[in-house]
Symmetry: C2
Subunit: 429 residues, 2 copies
């Protein structure tokens, strides 16, 4: 981690820059995978499974028997943990559905808005070494609350053709039973275009490697919606003299272990605190299974000493972190100054991993500065809000002239006529 | 308009298809414009203005004097109309801001969500023959309600270097005074990357020609958010024996006049009604200034006879129209069956042009089937929802074990440690 002391504000723009992403040479490769799935359907999926996952599958569908058998393999203790997380996430997200009041904007002109579930959604769940069953909770629970009719999961099989039991347990807990053994760009293609086995969906959610990410960005151009643009995970921690260096170091590492391209930022108004955190960091690092990954990520990472916590907040807003931990004594006051962040953790006991799993908030969040304009996943992500209007005769009489004048000024005479023809009839009554 | 009688359901998929869009050969052209603006800033904008708008500008900024002078040119009657529309749009959108309750998901674990304005937004307003000042209301009012700090407008100048007075009046009414004389792909580039005169923004809104649309889709790949993907405008009208053919025809035409690529769909359970509407259509067409455009659009358009209104609704949901007019006697019942639509107009007096201008709902809506997964513009489009969590010592004690177990099962040991190290301290207290 490189340390910066009282950098001039003119240098901030440089400091908030994310590590340059690799130039995307995947475009053509992913385009070809998409085309293959579009043209050959299931056959292409079986072929890619052999090629990329090293397994010849008999069926793309996870059978009910596989689900039941798998569930038996999940330790009771883990099942209980997942259920606890489930309950908290459900409680938080249940609060997000909203019925809006109707507004009579002018006498006789009633307008309202209604949230309607996106009918068909696809969730991509990465497999491989770390089975991210927690992501099923984070995507599946809001999808269920929104009342999406068709929810499908695609997740890559292991070399044995099987899906991690914790993934199947969590899917069953959430109430999703349509699960397909497909990973990578081909899974995104299957859900975007549909195949014999896999239904086409209208919006695709979930994290993934660079192939998945690229595929999502391409199918978005074709009109299939996606949750949000992807980027490496990141945390920014704001500290003062009251912070606990070993907690701070542990939080920095819990982010750094995600991937070599993760970035962690430590801010403080105390030189001393930065030094203590960096010492702690070093001592905790060596005991981590993913030490190498974390060390790699720390190479892109920065510790920055600033004048005061208010300046730290200003820097954080410019950075727009995915995760923001405020571990200062004035955290509750500082929080009101936040303009850009994905999810915020307040106080010394609010570690980021709580939000990743069980506090109740969603862990699918905007990275890479996207928090300036994007929100994390919520029930909102699984609905459209349709507007409605109903005008009575009197309503149209009240606003008819307004519409006619505006349409005429915009030179849209047929727009005007649609009103005039009605006003004429009303006046002839 | 081609008429289809009782098409088999297997043919519906074909019938809901939009006219094929022209293959995009603009990509390189637009990429070059973007690059030029990125590299040369204002200088590139002045050059493009000469090249594309045919005007050598002295300044890109609309001066306060220009605004004041222009406002005098807008007829009082039109000013009053715009103010009426403003009031209705504001009333409807004011209802969209929401303060959510905090949720204690587990004792000691408090989570909440806060809507925070996107700081910097850019609105693109097309100029040319039809000055779309109504779009300033539709984008500017929700931006103001959301409390975006910096709102800029880009709109192309006429050959005289001036902006349409109604555009300047409306901007001033909404309270937006930073207006730039830039149009086309170069305007999108300027707002996405910033130039000497034009500030960089985080999200870009507004309609435009194919260059603007392409530019928006490219800068979105660079992480600048956009309102929604673009497509030609469209309406679907649902009729029965109670519908008024001349109203229906007027509504079809008010959509068809938008552009040659617009599409209108007429559904009915009454053969008779379709015939009457088509006759009316022909008779109204000939008096339209934009008759040629409308005729072109009608060539892509369809009148479809179905068994009953419920089947019409089913077809409509598959089509997912931007605008849906339900002009049947059972409209209020049918509306509950809607799953996909942008904005809905209920009953014979609710013409689409009311929603375009003055009923209060937003007219920036998802077209091209995007209504399956996208909402129209609202105050939501101008905010991010940031999540927060605060855990007490007891809160962490309550969910700590859950987090540890889940993190371990996902093989993210540093995530687990961030909890363990805190639990250890708490237990040592």
């Amino acid at each position: 981690m490189k340390t910066y002391k009282y950098p001039n504000k003119t240098e901030w723009a440089e400091l908030v820059n994310r590590p340059e992403l690799k130039k995307e040479i995947l475009n053509q490769q992913v385009e070809e995978i998409l085309k293959e799935v579009k043209n050959k359907g299931d056959k292409a999926l079986y072929n890619f499974s052999e090629k990329f996952d090293g397994v010849a599958l008999n069926s793309l569908v996870v059978s009910q028997k596989e689900i039941i058998d798998s569930i038996k393999l999940v330790p009771e203790e883990l099942k209980e943990a997942i259920k606890t997380a489930y309950a908290n996430i459900e409680r938080f997200h249940n609060n997000q559905l909203r019925v809006e009041k109707e507004v009579e904007t002018t006498p006789g002109v009633r307008c309202w808005r209604k949230s309607v579930a996106i009918e068909k959604v696809g969730l991509y769940i990465p497999g491989g070494s770390a089975p991210l069953f927690s992501t099923i909770l984070m995507l599946g629970i809001p999808a269920k609350i929104a009342a999406c009719k068709e929810i499908v999961i695609c997740t890559p099989p292991g070399k044995d053709g099987k899906i991690n039991p914790a993934i199947l347990f969590t899917a069953q807990l959430v109430g999703i039973s349509t699960i397909y053994k497909v990973g990578g760009a081909q899974a995104i293609a299957a859900m975007a275009y549909g195949t014999e086995s896999i239904p086409q969906v209208y919006k695709i959610f979930g994290p993934g490697n660079q192939y998945v990410t690229k595929a999502k960005s391409i199918i978005q151009q074709d009109g299939v919606a996606i949750d949000m643009p992807a980027g490496p995970s990141e945390v920014l921690i704001l500290t003062d003299e009251s912070s606990n260096p070993s907690f701070v170091a542990a939080d920095l590492l819990s982010q750094a272990e995600h991937g070599a391209d993760s970035q962690v930022i430590l801010l403080s108004n105390q030189k001393n605190m930065i030094e203590k955190c960096l010492l702690e960091l070093e001592s905790q690092l060596s005991s981590l299974p993913r030490e190498d990954t974390a060390r790699e990520a720390l190479r892109n990472s920065k510790a920055i000493l600033l004048e005061n916590t208010s300046q730290c907040m200003e820097f954080s807003n410019l950075y727009a972190p995915e995760h923001l931990i405020i571990s200062t004594k004035n955290a509750m006051t500082l929080k009101d100054e936040i303009t850009n962040a994905g999810s915020v953790f307040i106080g010394k006991y609010s570690c980021e991993s709580a939000g990743d799993y069980a506090s109740g908030t969603n862990h699918t969040l905007p990275t890479n500065g996207f928090a300036k304009s994007y929100s994390g996943v919520s029930v909102d992500s699984f609905v459209k809000k349709i507007t409605f209007q109903e005008m009575t005769k009197q309503g149209l009489l009240n606003i008819g002239k307004t519409i006619e004048l505006m349409a005429e000024a915009e030179k849209l005479i047929a727009h005007k006529n649609a009103v005039s023809i009605r006003l004429k009839e009303i006046n002839n009554d």
